[in-house]
Amino acid sequence: MEEKEEELKLLGTKLSPFSWRIIWVLKLKGIEYDFIEEDLRNKSQLLLSSNPVHKKVPVLIHGGKAIPESIIILLYIEETWLKNPILPNDPYERSQALFWAKFADEKFLPEIEMAFSSTGDDQVKAVELATAALEVLEGEIKGKRFFGGDRIGFVDVVVGWIAYWLEMVEEAACFKVSNSKKFPSLHSWMNNFLEVTVIRENLPSPDDLRIFFHDLRQVKCDSLTQEIK
């Protein structure tokens, strides 16, 4: 049996954008897999043994080998299934793509997480930092249909959550970063991204997401109130 036909499982959660990054790429490459929904309040033995260090999803299990961390999984998929590449061929362009994915995950995402989890001055500060990072991303997408050029690529998949999840996160926590007047190029990109068939057909229910973020925000606010007490 060819290595590539070995059993492929994806452990994830249907509400998390990190799991959807993997789903989108598997679909773009036409790769068959089994999705296993994890209950993060009651983690399965499979998850705990597959990602003993972080105990987080997503984890890709290919022929019994477990690969954790979404970006690392994406690179593994790219290097194992060569059809429909999501990274550019040219080493410089590839390096740029890796850089922008890292930038978005390290400079923008954590600030949104912080803004969602905080109130008052802490939230204001997080929104400022998130806005600064988004301005940089706006500069990068300007004049391009996708971060990957004419077709969606690695960076689009990594930042794809901005086109769908961000609005609901902002609503639930009463802050606004992705102002369409301030970020016109990003907003065009968001529309382009959501129109791609594989993406459009593979998104979680907006109602489920709204409820999830609303409830989670409540939990965060409660714990903040308790901390003050």
Binding site: V53, H62, K65, I67, P68, E69, I72, I73, L75, Y76, E79, T80, P91, Y92, R94, S95, L98, F99, K102, V136, G139
Partner: protein
């Protein structure tokens, strides 16, 4: 056509030193340009205008930033010595441990060094936990890369030299031979390699640099080493 390879870095930065070690392992000649981040040069602002950070690798007029991204570029561009394994799963594991070193070990050790009291105790426990997890990866191996230095070893330059400096300045002991025997053995092995020695700053000068800034670091608690 002669290749133009330049590295912009800081002598105290583990991140630019990683790039230098990788190039040395590949046998690539490069020009090193020391950057003073307190007084950014026009050259840095030209090559990295958006982020204004080091290291920057310049290769035939193309610019590369972020040490781990640069390392991947170096590995795929120059043949000969391999920094990453061939097998995709092994590559994934190497990338995983590089991330773990920077995000988990780096952060925990930094906080452990510059915090006080109960916070410090807690941070030290966390740092030990992470370092023990990392140490497990070395079992039965000379280096993280196996018989030879690989990507993870290069990224762990932070542990091999900088962690020892930080703990000395902070007056704590994290890299304890009793608690982390395998990691300490690896540090010795790593630091004894000629190319590694060539790629590192003199220990006493590095120590002086951080000692002089101890107060400022403790007060700000900023990740100043993440330049």
């Amino acid at each position: 056509m002669a290749e133009e390879v330049k590295v912009m870095g800081m002598w105290i930065s583990p991140f630019s030193r990683r790039v230098e070690l990788a190039l040395k392992l590949k046998g690539v000649s490069y020009e090193y340009i020391e950057e003073d981040l307190a007084n950014k040069s026009p050259l840095l602002l030209k090559y990295n205008p958006i982020h204004k950070k080091i290291p920057v690798l310049l290769h035939n007029e193309k610019i590369f930033i972020e040490s781990t991204v640069i390392l991947e570029y170096i590995d795929e561009t120059w043949e000969g010595y391999s920094l990453l394994p061939e097998d995709p799963y092994q590559r994934a594991m190497a990338r995983f441990w590089v991330k773990f070193i920077d995000e988990k070990c780096g952060t925990a050790v930094w906080i452990a060094c510059w915090s006080e009291g109960k916070d410090q105790e807690k941070a030290m426990e966390e740092a030990w936990e992470h370092l023990r997890t990392l140490e497990n990866e070395l079992k039965g191996k000379k280096f993280f890369g196996g018989e030879t230095i690989g990507l993870v070893d290069i990224a762990a330059n932070l542990i091999a030299l900088w962690f020892g400096i930080f703990e000395e300045v902070a007056g704590i002991k994290l890299l304890d031979e009793e608690k982390l025997p395998i990691l300490c053995r690896w540090i010795e092995q790593f630091l004894s390699c000629d190319l590694v020695k060539e790629s590192l700053p003199p220990r006493d000068e590095l120590l002086m640099f951080f000692q002089a800034r101890k107060e400022a670091i403790t007060a700000s608690k900023s990740m100043v080493y993440k330049i």
